[in-house]
Each structure stands twice: as C-alpha cells, then as structure tokens.
C-alpha cells in the first residue's frame, strides 16, 4: 500500500488527494445499488456490465482495466457501515473477495483497490469462485466489454484503417452487435428491476447504459490515439465499422418468433429473420411474464466470447461532374452487354471512369448524365453534362491542379471522347443535372436523305417553321422497355443546308426529350408531323450530331 505523505503542502500529497477524489467520484454507487451489484456479479456479469446496470454514466469508469473495476465492486459490496465484512465474506451468494482483516471500514469506502493475490482472509470457496468468474465470459455482453475492448483491439482496428491508406480528417466508429444481446440485456434488466422494486426504487430501460455506448466510451479514445490523435466523432465522412457475431447463442432469440410472430416475417434474401430491429421490436411488445417463462435468468453462460469480424472502412461517396464530347459513331454511353457477352468495345462512362477511379482510389462508380445519345450519334459543342458518384474513395480531396491533370489524363487516353469542366461537386448538385434533362433545349444537326430528287428551294420553307408541335408515340425502337404513350414535343426552329438532290443538312433546336430520328423518318407514321409528311416524300436520317445541350451546369472551368 502506498505510504501517504502527510504534509499537506507537498505536491505529491495534493496529487494523491486528487486521485482519491477522482476515484470516489468515478464510481458514484449508492447503498441501494448493492443488491444489484451482488446479483449481477453472482449471475455471471462482468464488472463493466454491472456499472451499466447501475446507470454509471461516467465514461472514465469504463476505461479502467476491468480487473480493477471488479475489485472495486467487490470491495463495495463487501463493505457495510456496521463492519459486517466477515459475515458478507461467508455469504455464499457473495462473489466479492475478502478484505485484509483489521482495516477500518472508512478506508474501504474510498474503494482502494485490493491487489490480486494479496492476503485474503475468509472463505477459501469465495476465492475459488472469484477465479472462475474472472475467466468466464460475461452473460450480458458476451465478452465485448471484457477482452474485446481495450488497447489490443484498438491497435487492430487502427492497423486496418492504416492498411486502407484512406484520406480523412475525422472518423466515426460504428459497432454492430449480435441481436441476442438484446435478449440477454432484457433478462438482466427485468431481474435488476425486480431487485430494486423490493427497495421501492425504479429502473427504466433507458437509464441502463447500452453495451454499444460503453464500448464506444472505451474504444474511441484508444483508436484516436493509435491513429495519431484523429478526432473520433459522432458523424463523419469516414466510417470504421466493427462487427461482432456469436453463433453459439444465436438461438437465444428464437423463442421470440413464437411469442411475437408478426415481428419476424421471412425475407426474400434468405438472411436470418432475427435482425436486431425485429428482436428489439419483439422485446418491446412482449410482456414481462411471458418473457420470464421463456428465458431464464441468469442467461446461460457462454463458453466463448464474441467473434470480431473484419473491420470495415467506408468513406462516403464523392461526386465528380463535367461535360463530355463523343466523337465516335460506334461508342455506347454505357457498356453494351447482351447475354453476358460484350457487344461493343468500351463505353463513354468506362473511358471517363478509369482514370478517375485510379486518382481517387475508389471501389466503383455510378454514372449519370443529362440525357443520352445513341451509339451512332456524336456529341459536339460544349458537350453533355455528366456526374459520377465515386464509391468508397480512399482519396477525397484533389486540388485544382490535380483535377486539371486528371482531365488531361482522360483526354489523352482516347480520341473518342473529351472531357471538360471536371470538378468535385456536392451530392445535391446531381439534382441540378437531372433537371436539365426535362427542362432545357438541345440543338442537333441531321443528315437527311430524300427519296425524290429535290432542289434547294424545295426545302427553303422549312426554315420558316417555328415552334412546331409534334405528337410522338413511344418510338418502336425503345417501346420494348418504355411505356406506350404519346408525348408532345416542340421543334423550336430549323435551318436547312442543301447538299445534293437527295441530301441536305437539317439543323434543329428542340425541346428536351424530342426523338430526332423519328421526326425525320416518321417511325411508321407514329410521329406526326414528320419530315416525310412536310416534304411529301419518303425521308430517312443518315447521321445525327448533338450540337449543344443547353444546361448551364456544371459551372465552366476556364482552361
């Protein structure tokens, strides 16, 4: 035992006095808690779980080595004001170790730790019991608050994070616990409640500290330290997920399916119906009496601790936007695969995505754009706005120069496409792009073929047509995957450029969603009016280019 410096003016005395105060303040246990502590310790709960059921919300209490906490608890229940310490030691329900004889009661109220292996008087059987309980897995937390939380685990978690080489400022630690923990918790709570009711005290389930919260109190600081002092917060772009399973006790939940069948509907994907949510819901509904009939207290002791699954790291998605040109007439926008076989080499999205995924070290992407063009249609002018969601990027910040460099890399990689205005945007910005799809106008140039021979004056009248309304039935070429409907679309204006007796160029400015090809060839007369009708002869479209997509997003980046 530490020799106390009795000179109050010495710093060391002051510090040990602070420690005493701290210790006393760390465990604000009241006399009324004693039966609870006794009951839980003898039922197989670990020290930290006992603290939880005593509603101890002092985070530091959970960070002490569990052995220390256990001994403090034993000391606490062993101590009575009337000095009946010997009596409590012989009490067979008492799991506390005995105190060194001759110690005055007041000192023990300060909860000084009893060193393991120190002279313990009293029952030999009590000592044996102590050893058993020290090595056994907690019936409430299944080991999660025992050896599964502590510096060793923090090091393991930190190692996984470092392996991923993620870029992050803060992180959030999330933990997933096996569903059966709720059942065990419920059981312990009911019995603690019963114990307290006899003393006319109340214990709401919400007052009990959840396992998850205690785990985080222990681990957040430790993980932060291992990662060089990074802030571990409640919400962050970077999530480190820890998961525990316990196959041995999975059956603990099963009785709930018979008492509350409505909570457990079988799912399509054959995963267990005993999800955490379903179990929690069933426990809310079940009456205390029915629960106690099906689930014994104390819960059965497990033979092993929970199994920690691989730590998973996830960075929230990053969004990239830009505009693309397509100069090739045999390039689809998305990969063209039929029956598992690729029908066309590459695609716009793959050509753009490849360098982007490398730069951001992302796992995957979702590509979307403000409208789409066919395989055989070029996109000229300023290009078509697009946005990409990058999934789980290991890098999340690129400077302006790095973005410029990335854009150049994309442009150098292929002459089939070109990208401009490449930039990082927010998730909300994706909505701006989609609004362009319906609302804005687009400009095209088509190469038209005529069956009969024409002269330039035969097509001159077309230039005078303004705001021509079309009734377009869903084109046959997309009717297999779109609903059958008639859509009204406006062709705002047209300009013709005569080429030869059977060909002319047609420039059009149209409402978004107008099918240009069908306007030219008529689609079996299902687009009315159409160029054939206007010229009173068969017409067909040989080539089409998109000249502009009139959406003023994303903001342009000067080159």
């Amino acid at each position: 035992m530490r020799k106390k410096d009795t000179n109050p003016l010495h710093l060391s005395h002051f510090i040990s006095w602070c420690h005493d105060i701290e210790r006393a303040a760390m465990l604000p246990l009241k006399d009324g808690d004693k039966p609870v502590v006794r009951k839980l310790l003898s039922s197989g709960c670990c020290a930290r779980c006992v603290l939880r059921f005593c509603c101890i919300s002092v985070q530091a209490a959970y960070r002490k080595p569990p052995q220390e906490t256990l001994e403090e608890l034993r000391a606490f229940i062993g101590n009575t004001e009337n000095g009946k310490s010997q009596q409590s030691a012989s009490d067979s329900h008492d799991a506390a170790g005995s105190e060194p004889p001759g110690e005055p009661p007041m000192k023990r109220a300060k909860l000084e730790p009893v060193e393991p292996g120190a002279a313990v008087g009293g029952d030999a059987s009590a000592v044996v019991k102590v050893e058993e309980e020290e090595s056994s897995v907690c019936v409430a937390c299944l080991g999660i608050l025992q050896e599964l939380s502590g510096p060793t685990q923090a090091v393991k978690i930190a190692e996984r994070v470092k392996e991923g080489e993620y870029e992050f400022d803060t992180l959030v630690l999330s933990v997933s616990l096996p569903a059966q923990l709720c059942v065990r918790e419920h059981s312990c709570w009911l019995h603690v409640k019963k114990e307290l009711r006899e003393k006319s005290a109340a214990l709401a389930k919400d007052d009990v500290i959840p396992v998850k919260e205690a785990f985080k109190w222990i681990m957040q600081g430790l993980v932060a330290k291992e990662l060089g002092g990074v802030a571990v917060v409640i919400r962050s772009l970077f999530e480190v997920s820890v998961e525990f399973t316990h196959p041995e006790t999975e059956a603990d939940c099963h009785f709930l399916a018979s008492t509350c069948a409505s909570c457990f509907k079988p799912t399509k994907n054959k995963q267990s119906v005993f999800t955490r949510m379903a179990v929690v819901k069933a426990l809310e509904k079940i009456s205390d009496a029915v629960f106690l009939k099906h689930y014994a207290f104390p819960p059965p002791r497990p033979s092993s601790s929970c199994v920690p699954q691989d730590v998973k790291c996830l960075h929230t998605s990053i969004f990239i936007a830009g505009r693309y040109n397509k100069f090739c007439r045999s390039l689809p926008q998305t990969p063209w695969v039929i029956d598992g076989e690729r029908r066309m080499e590459s695609s716009v999205e793959e050509l753009i995505a490849a360098p982007v995924l490398l730069s951001f070290r992302a796992a995957g992407f979702n590509f979307s754009s403000s409208g789409r063009e066919d395989v055989d249609v070029r996109t000229l002018g300023n290009g078509r706005p697009f946005a990409m969601e990058l999934l789980n990027p290991h890098r999340s910040k690129l400077s302006r120069e790095e973005m410029k460099h990335l854009q150049e890399t994309i442009n150098k990689s292929s002459d089939k496409i070109r990208v401009r205005d490449l930039q990082i945007v927010s998730r909300e910005a994706m909505g701006r792009m989609k609004e362009g799809e319906e609302a804005k106008t687009k400009s095209y140039t088509a190469l038209v073929w005529t069956q009969k021979a024409i002269q330039s004056q035969d097509i001159a009248f077309i230039d005078g047509i303004k705001d021509l309304t079309l009734d377009q039935k869903t084109p046959l070429r997309v009717l297999h995957r779109r609903p059958l409907a008639v859509r009204q679309r406006v062709v705002h204006r047209m300009i013709t450029r005569y080429l030869d007796p059977h060909h002319f160029h047609l420039e059009l400015k149209t409402q978004a969603g107008t099918y240009i090809k069908e306007f030219v060839h008529g689609d079996f007369g299902r687009t009315k009016p159409n160029m054939s009708v206007l010229l009173k002869m068969d017409t067909d479209i040989l080539e089409l280019d998109v000249e502009s997509v009139d959406v003023d997003w994303p903001p342009s980046i000067p080159e």
Binding site: L447, L476, H480, R482, D500, H502, G525, E543
Partner: protein
C-alpha cells in the same frame, strides 16, 4: 459533319426497315391463297405486322371500303390498352388470332392475322381515317399492328415463319404454277 457514303442514287441508302428490322413471312395464311403477311421483327424483339406486297388487297387496283377492328361481339382490338413498362393489359394473341377484317369496294373480304404469339401493343388507327395508307405504304405507315412476344419465346417465334429467301421461293413457284395451263 463527316463525309457521306452514298450520295448518288435513289435506292442505295438502306431504309429504316433494312437497318433495324428482319423481314419474316407467312404465306397463304389459313390456307387462303396468296394471303401473305409480312412480319417486321425489330432487333429489340418487337414485331410489326404488315401486308406482304403479294396480298390480294394490294393487287388489281382494289380500293378499301371498310376496316374493322371489331373481330367478335365482345372483342375489339381498338379496346386494347397497355400500361406501364411491362405492357400489362394487352390482349394476348396466338398465331391465328384475327387482328382486323378488311372489306374492299369489290365486296371481297379479308382477315388479317397476328401470325405470331405475343401481347398486342397497338393497332394502327391511322388506316381507319386514311385507308389509302394501307394501299400506298403497306410496309410503313400502313402497318396493321405492333406485337411484343414473350421474352422467353422471342427467339422461337420465327420457327413458323419464312425468311425472305424462302418466301421468294414460294412466290416464284406460284408464278410458275400460274403460267402453266392446267
């Protein structure tokens, strides 16, 4: 725009049908001589039912008096309504389901048939207003109906149909038979 390949003659540019559809045929539908149908199968498996050029309606300068999509007391193809992407509600047709009945001014009557199994998506209402479309443009604006075969059956429907070469062989045999005095 880049250079155009076929600028010269009228007929060299492949038409919309040539580019995206395969022509299939059924000859002598239901045993009736020369009542040939042409089924235009799109690469997306949709089929457009049209009259083949050899069909009697298109011969001998006939004019159309009436086109009736009411094929029985309780069934009119005009009542066909499909909704949604999966085209629910469309009347399901088998090979010999009648699509419409056409009466010509010379009182000859013809029934046009589905020719394939599938869901009826639409019938051409333009020919009700303008029957001459059927005579002048039987392969395009004068189409009869659009049918969507079941996804699983889409490859098999052509088993009962003649390819263009096979059909042309059938037609040339007819011409030979006609030219031989009986």
């Amino acid at each position: 725009m880049d250079g155009v390949e076929q600028r010269d003659t009228e007929a060299t540019a492949p038409s919309v049908i040539d580019r995206y559809y395969t022509r299939w045929f059924r000859a002598d539908m239901k045993g009736k001589p020369c009542e040939d149908h042409c089924i235009l199968q799109h690469s997306n498996r949709l089929c457009v039912i049209t009259l083949a050029e050899t069909h009697p309606i298109l011969q001998d300068g006939r004019a159309i008096k009436n086109i009736n999509y009411q094929i029985s007391n309780c069934c009119s193809r005009l009542n066909n309504k499909v909704s949604g992407k999966s085209k629910r509600g469309g009347q399901f047709l088998t090979d010999f389901a009648p699509l419409c009945r056409i009466t010509c001014t010379d009182e000859t009557e013809y029934t046009i048939y589905s020719c394939i199994r599938g869901r009826l998506l639409e019938v051409n209402e333009s020919i009700l207003e303008t029957p001459t479309l059927l005579l002048e443009k039987p392969s395009t604006e004068g189409y009869i109906a659009v049918i969507l075969p079941k996804f699983e059956e889409s490859k098999r429907i052509t088993e009962n149909l003649l390819s263009r070469e096979e059909f042309e062989t059938v037609v040339s045999k007819r011409i030979v038979a006609q030219s031989q005095p009986s």
